[in-house]
Symmetry: C2
Subunit: 337 residues, 2 copies
C-alpha cells in the first residue's frame, strides 16, 4: 500500500512489520508503551521502505502544523535593501525555530492583494502562529489575525491600534540620545538630523528621540527626511547643507543614509569628522568600511528575531507572554564622530 506519490504509507509499514497501523503510529511518534522488540521491527520496516509521515494527514487530525509564518509586508525594494534588518530577523527567527524543530515559512506580500492571501493562508490552518515583521504604517493584518484567534507577534512596535498585541522592538530613543550626547560632548553646536520615513516606527521613534535629546540641551533642531536608502541620504544631506551651511554635525537615522550623506559631504568638500561629524544607526558591517568608518548605534537585530520566535512558541503552546519586549541599543564610536 503506497500513497499516490508512490510513497509508502503507515499501512505499508504496518503490513511489513506484521503489526497494526496504530502501533506503527505509536513508534513513529515515540510513544513509550510499545515493546522493545516490536519497536525494533517497526523501525526496520520504516527504514527499509523509506517511510516518511504525510504531514497533511497528520495536520488534519492533530490540528497542528509545526510551522510558523514570518510575514514580510514590505515593498520589494526595502526587503531587498542591504541594511540587514530583514535578513537579521529572519536569521534570528530561524535559529530559534530550528532548535524547537518548527518550520519557518517565509511569506511575502508585495501587492495589496497579497495581504488577503496571507490572511487566508494563516486562517487556512497552514501555520500555528504568525510573526509580522513589517514596520510600516498602521498595518491591519496583525489585528485581523488576532481576531481570527491566531497567535501573533509583531516585530517593531505596531503603529495604530493593534491593541495589546505582543511585540519586540529596540530602544530607539535611548540609542539616539546616546548619539546626540556624544556629539554634544564633542563640542558640536549645530546638530542636524536625517530622519527616516515617518510612517515607520523606526523613522518616527528615532526622530522623536533626536528632538527630545536636543530639547534637553537647548539646541535647535535641523531636520531633513529620507527613506532609509543611500540615495535619499545623499539628497537629504544636500538639503541640510543648503538649509544651514554652518552645521557641524548630523545624526543620520540609518547607516545606509549615512553612507549617502558621506558621499554628499565629500562632494561638497567637507571633511568628516573635522568639519562635520556624522553618526549613523544600525551598525551594519558596512559601517566599518566607509571613509571614515562610521560612529553608529548598534541594535541587536538578530536578537529581535530570536525573541519574536521565542514569544510565538510560547503563544502556540498556550502560554502567556509579556506584551512588549524592548531590547537595548548601544553607541559604537568610530572615526566619523
Amino acid at each position: 500500500v503506497t500513497a499516490a506519490g508512490g510513497r509508502p504509507t503507515l499501512e505499508a509499514v504496518a503490513r511489513r512489520a506484521g503489526v497494526s497501523r496504530a502501533t506503527v503510529s505509536r513508534v513513529v511518534n515515540g510513544s513509550p508503551k510499545v515493546a522493545q522488540e516490536i519497536q525494533a521491527r517497526v523501525r526496520r520496516a520504516v527504514e527499509e521502505l523509506g517511510y516518511v509521515p504525510n504531514q497533511a494527514a497528520r495536520t488534519l487530525v492533530t490540528q497542528r502544523t509545526g510551522s510558523i509564518a514570518l510575514v514580510l509586508t514590505e515593498e520589494a525594494n526595502r526587503v531587498f535593501s542591504d541594511d540587514q534588518v530583514f535578513p537579521g530577523i529572519i536569521l534570528g527567527v530561524s535559529q530559534v525555530l530550528e532548535a524547537a524543530d518548527r518550520q519557518l515559512v517565509l511569506v511575502m506580500a508585495h501587492s495589496p492583494a497579497g495581504h488577503d492571501r496571507i490572511e487566508r493562508y494563516a486562517t487556512g490552518g497552514h501555520v500555528d502562529g504568525v510573526l509580522i515583521a513589517s514596520m510600516h504604517g498602521a498595518d491591519p493584518l496583525p489585528a485581523a489575525l488576532a481576531h481570527r484567534r491566531i497567535p501573533v507577534v509583531c516585530g517593531g512596535r505596531p503603529l495604530g491600534r493593534a491593541d495589546g498585541l505582543p511585540y519586540v522592538d529596540v530602544d530607539h530613543a535611548g540609542g539616539v540620545a546616546a548619539a546626540v550626547r556624544h556629539l554634544l560632548a564633542g563640542g558640536r553646536r549645530r546638530i542636524a538630523t536625517i530622519a527616516g520615513p515617518q510612517d515607520m516606527v523606526a523613522g518616527i521613534d528615532r526622530l522623536a528621540g533626536y528632538r527630545a535629546a536636543l530639547r534637553d540641551s537647548d539646541r535647535r533642531s535641523i531636520v531633513a527626511v529620507g527613506d532609509f536608502t543611500r540615495a535619499s541620504g545623499a539628497a537629504a544631506m544636500r538639503q541640510l547643507l543648503a538649509d544651514d551651511p554652518e552645521l557641524d554635525a548630523v545624526f543620520v537615522a540609518s547607516d545606509l543614509m549615512a553612507h549617502g550623506a558621506l558621499r554628499t559631504l565629500r562632494e561638497a568638500g567637507r571633511r568628516v569628522p573635522d568639519d562635520v561629524a556624522v553618526v549613523g544607526f544600525d551598525d551594519t558591517e558596512m559601517a566599518q568600511f566607509t571613509d571614515p568608518p562610521l560612529t553608529t548605534v548598534r541594535q541587536p537585530i538578530v536578537e529581535i528575531g530570536r525573541r519574536m520566535a521565542g514569544q510565538i512558541l510560547r503563544l502556540t503552546d498556550g502560554e502567556r507572554v509579556e506584551p512588549a519586549v524592548v531590547l537595548p541599543t548601544e553607541l559604537v564610536v568610530r572615526e566619523s564622530a
Copy 2:
C-alpha cells in the same frame, strides 16, 4: 458544524446555504457549472460564516500543497551578508510564485542536522517542489530529493555530480572577461585578482575566468583568495600588495571584498584609480557610494530567482525544462577603473 479550532467547515456552509458539501466545494473552487443563484447563496453563507478552506484536508486528497520550498543551506553569516544575493533570489522567487498564487516556504539549514530535516520536510509532502539556493561544495541534497522524485531546481551550477538537475546561473566567465579587457584597455599591466572561496561556483568560475582572460593577453596572474567578506577582501589586498608592490590593477570577485580592498589601498596610500584600478563583481547598490564609486560586473540576481521559480512551476506541472539557464552579465564602468 465547526472545526476544532472553532472555524466553520464546508459542512457548516452547506447547511446554511441549504445545499450539499459538493456544491459548496465547487463554488469555492470556482467550478463554472453551478447555477448563478446557488452560487450567490453559497457565497453569502461563506461570507457570513467567515469560512476558509482547511488546507490540510485539501492537500490530503489532492496531493498538492500549492507551496514551493526555497532551501538556503548556508552558514548563518553568509545569508546574513549584505551582498544581496540571497535577498535578491528570494525576491525574484517570491514575485513569480505570488503571481502564480503559490506560497513560498523559506527553509534554512544552518546545522548539518537541518539537512535531514529538510529532506523529511520535502518528502513529507509539505511542498510541491524545491528550489535550492546554496552555492556551496557538492551538496548532496539536490540529488537526494531528485531521487525521491521531488521536482528540484538549483540556483547556481551545482558542483559535484547532481547529474542533469536543472539549474539557473549567470555567465561569470563572460563578466570577468569584460572586466579584464577593460583593465587592459586602460593600459594596466599588472592585474591581480582577489578570488572568492574555491568551494563555491561563483568563486571557482570567476577565478577561472580571470585566469583565462589573462592567459589570452599573455600577462601573468597574481592571486589572493578571500571568502566574499569585506574583511577577507581587506586582508587579501594587503597580501597582494606584499606579493607585488608594482601591481596597478585588481579584479575583485565581489563588491564586498572590493570594499575591503579599497580600505586597504587607502591605508597603504595608494590612490584609486590613479595608482591602482579596482573592479568588483555583483553591482550591489553600495558600489555607487564607495570612494571612488566602483566599476563592477552586474549580474541579474533577481532574475535568477524569477527563472528558478519559473522552472519549478513548469516542473510541478509535469512539463519539461531546459537543463541549464545561464543569464548574461554586464560590466558597469565607474570611477574606480
